[in-house]
Amino acid sequence: MRKIWLNPGFWLVLAIVVALGAWPIFQQDAAARETGFTVLLAIVMASSLNIVMGYTGYVSFGHVVFYGIGGYIGMYFIDSLGLPLPVAVLFGGLSSALLAFLLGKAILRLRGAYFALATIGVNEAARTFVANFQPFGAATGIELQFSVYKAYGGALQALWLVYYGVVGIAIFSVIFSYYIKTSKFGLGLMTIREDEDAAEVIGIVTPNAKTWAYVLSAILPGMLGVLFFFKNGNVEPGDAFRLGFSIESLVMIMLGGQGTVLGPVLGALGYQRLRGTLLTSDLMIGSLPLKDFQLVISGFLMLLIILFIPSGLVGWLRQRFATLRRVLA
């Protein structure tokens, strides 16, 4: 179970993400690149949340907080301190990890629904705090000077640079996710998911394991936050801490299959595909355009998944066809 490079499941999930990331680069097409941004962001958010939710069994509605905080810190470093983007990205990831560490110590002792509720509180608290925090521009946020992009060879060049960064992080996120799942640490997390009290009796230091899972899930969203807000040129509290984004990440994981490596990737792809179709649809329901119903439909979808295939697409396939277990990580 340790030899990653011998496992077809690892190569399958890696190939999917590499292919997705490489497609716009070969096309050299701006529209394909924007789609790539959206899908890869979704993959990283879902994959990283899966470490806490799928492996450890703690449902978090506050995953976007790490994206937002990382983004804010990075933007602050670029805008006020004039640091280069890669350094800002690194600091974005580190600050999210630090926040996760402190939060983990405080709220990971809560279990089940109580933890989930606390994470909603964290999300709202972070948003309100940043919206009133002057160094971060309070309610108006941080806006980059256009001249910042000159250092990267102009805005167009900077966009592609950011894209390469996002592809790199997305590829790393699935390798990371696979590595954790097949490690001793990951086995400990899954033991906590199955039965936390039994895990303690077996000898797993549950407070530490949970905190580390939380920290590891926070790093990549923090890094991505910096890249995305740099690309947008501005960051506002409402964009950085959008509760809906956390919920969408949950839906993606459940759609694809929680606790699997491939599940969040397929879930993210499927969900973004559906969302794209709905948003560009001309269909009308009565006098209302269908595209206004995007969240209604994802809510309904989640209900159906929970009722009929609680283990998601990959989980269902694994249960149904035992031979697929080797291929579907």
């Binding site: 179970m1 400990g188 033991t191 039994a198 303690e200 009796v201 077996i202 000898g203």
Partner: protein, 250 residues
């Protein structure tokens, strides 16, 4: 003779309920202590106190000569204590082998996954469920789950093993198999405390018996001596002299 476990005047209360009152006993290295008593006597509570799930209000617990009162379960596991649960707790979505690997990985020997997998295969064949190794633990039947629970505890290569009703719900032939397993664990030098209701089995296995009733120890000693103790018979069956007393009074 070294003492592996010393329980000294342990008292545990839940609100107004006195679950354990000044319970005291020692367990010598390599011995089997049978813990018996009627339902609700506090046997599992005593396990939970020894195992660090609950902290006692009074008294001390010494494991390997060190005071471990109030230590967490995982700290005790790292010192070499393992237990099984009365109501089995398989990690349902993991395979049987993975369940046992967890035990070996996180016990006091702290194995990596590769050596843990070797230990898991040994232990699974020792308890006789290696044919099920790749099944999900949730798909096992009760007897197999009991064996899995035991395998997971054994994979930690514990110095002290707490067995909570591993025979309950098994058929007579399954009980015979399990008793043999317990004896061979003891022969490997593991000290055992076991809670059991199947009297014949526990009399055969135990070096000593310890009897709890309403959280108090009412008897302790060799199996034969204890089962003929009037207090023990009274706890289980009511007062044996009651009829006679009533006659005399009448």
């Amino acid at each position: 003779m070294t003492l592996i476990l010393q329980v000294q005047a342990v008292t545990k209360r839940f609100g107004g309920l006195q679950a354990l009152t000044k319970v005291t006993f020692d367990l010598a290295q390599g011995q089997v202590l049978g813990l018996i008593g009627p339902n609700g006597a506090g046997k599992t509570t005593l396990f939970n106190v020894i195992n660090g799930v609950y902290t006692p209000e009074e008294g001390r617990i010494l494991f390997l000569g060190k005071d471990v009162t109030g230590k967490k379960s995982y700290e005790l596991a790292k010192m070499g204590m393992a237990r099984t649960h009365q109501i089995v707790r398989p990690l349902k979505e993991l395979t049987v082998r993975e369940n046992v690997i967890v035990g070996a990985c996180y016990g006091h020997e702290n194995h990596d996954l590769i050596s843990a997998a070797k230990i898991a295969d040994e232990v699974l064949s020792f308890v006789g469920i290696s044919a099920r190794a790749d099944q999900l633990a949730g798909s096992l039947n009760v007897a197999q789950k009991k064996r899995l629970e035991m395998a997971r505890a054994l994979a930690a290569r514990p110095k002290l093993l707490l067995l909570d009703e591993v025979l309950a719900g098994l058929t007579p032939s399954e009980i015979d198999g399990m008793v043999k397993t317990v004896l061979s664990i003891r022969d490997q030098g593991v000290s055992i405390v076991m809670i059991e209701h199947v009297m014949k089995a526990i009399m055969n296995v135990s070096d000593r018996l310890f009897v709890l009733d309403y959280g108090q120890q009412i008897a302790e000693g060799g199996p034969e001596e204890v089962v003929h103790n009037p207090k023990v018979i009274e706890a289980y069956l009511g007062d044996p002299q009651m009829a006679q007393k009533l006659m005399e009074e009448g």
